[in-house]
Symmetry: C2
Amino acid sequence: MVYDVVIIGGGPAGLTAGIYAKRAMLDAVLLEGKGVGGQIIVTDLVENFPGFLEISGAELAAKFEEHAQKFGLEFRNMVDVTAIDDKGDTKLVKTTEGDIETKAVIIASGTTPRKLGVKGELEFTGRGVSYCATCDGFFFRDKVAVVVGGGDSAITEAIFLTKMVKKVYVIHRRDELRAEKINQEKAFANPKIKFVCDSVVEEIAGSNVVEKVILRKVSTDEISELKTDGVFIYVGLDPNTGFTDVEKDDWGFIIASQRMETSAGGIFAAGDCRNTPLRQIATAVGDGAIAAVSAGKYIEELTK
Amino acid sequence: MVYDVVIIGGGPAGLTAGIYAKRAMLDAVLLEGKGVGGQIIVTDLVENFPGFLEISGAELAAKFEEHAQKFGLEFRNMVDVTAIDDKGDTKLVKTTEGDIETKAVIIASGTTPRKLGVKGELEFTGRGVSYCATCDGFFFRDKVAVVVGGGDSAITEAIFLTKMVKKVYVIHRRDELRAEKINQEKAFANPKIKFVCDSVVEEIAGSNVVEKVILRKVSTDEISELKTDGVFIYVGLDPNTGFTDVEKDDWGFIIASQRMETSAGGIFAAGDCRNTPLRQIATAVGDGAIAAVSAGKYIEELTK
């Protein structure tokens, strides 16, 4: 069987692409490596997707999935894509569960939290080092946690952690945060959060579990230690685009047109994995809708 | 007072821009000429905004409005914008209710249904001619209606009309519809809908109210008459952009970058009024979020 569209990734972009593809009566299958929902699954509270005043990321993901299922989207979970073999009018999507032939591909594979790249990070992952406060915060109740980063994820997850931990130190390289102003104000007003600016983590140390971080002040190179039980790392996102050789920017994000076309005919990109100016659920759903409509038009042209 | 952002238009794009602007702690006001909600207010059923399996357009608009209100967005209703006077670092938004000074403007003014431009259209508007089945369909219960057009609006509103009318004729200039396939199939399966393809309306006629339409077959120029009580016109959308002189395409849609920047610094565009490849609620909310974040960055640069 040759599919019309293979959608790679089950976050908001991929699921919306699925809704639109099925409404366009295309034979579509969505491949997901982990659980459906993407990055939003590990988001405690979503307040800025219009129409939902307050909803947990997991709940919103479930609604998106239900919506795609309503229109009969086929799902394959626990499937990792290893390559896309572009044969012109058809593509062979190579996966850990075999090859899938399709006329068009929509890459909505999202991003992965970036590693800090310091000593102790790998060895203490799961023993104090985490990339998901929503998943692991509970293990640190009444303890001390460090959050590394200054963007929205860092600040909102620091606020989330204050529900359970005794104290949160936010370590940020610059003097100014990048997070939405509303999140900054919430964090500044929270007595459990202390900001350590102009500072980077040099090392994560401990015996069996994390016990402290070694900090360096950026402006003075001064070294200090900070005792902590947990280190939550939010220093950016790397695109999950290693399996495709379409044109990308210097950071690996796929370069896509307004119509979500990539450099390869019949391969489209949507959501966080592309070079978008903003990575939000609101933008991902727009991308997904456009990518599916563009894929539909591409297939129509093919068969003319 | 000088606002940070004036948002022109209260549809999904403008309301989402409002949510994001307020979350960025900007002084923002939203101007709306009619009621908040935009085109979706006159949409009977929304099935393709992810997260809401089935919702009326009016209900979804109310949710968006509530969401923007939660973050304190200021609304001014019944205000029409007549011009934007670009004074460089500030803009003067001229309205029917006085001038408003602001650092940035987000144009999310949407579109207006296009007129057919045939004899009888203007004189019978409100007496059988309508651009909104959701608004006026009820007046035609157990009667005959004609829908002109072949896009999504035409087809979904034809389906909607079958709930109340006896018979719906869909008059379409081409042989193929442009509507989403799922909508086409629903319409084809509906015994109350009859398609009259390869045909255009030449005239709308009657004495006091609409009584018939005069049709011309495009391929043969053959003229015929069709008795009907109502004519619902869905032949495209014209952008509401007459008040601004930023760069536009041949149809009047505002040309905007991926960051929603227009040709004028500090003036951004979002949603249906810009040259977007797809006009959907899902794409409008993405545009709105990006426009607000871009406006915030622009204002930050201004004050540096």
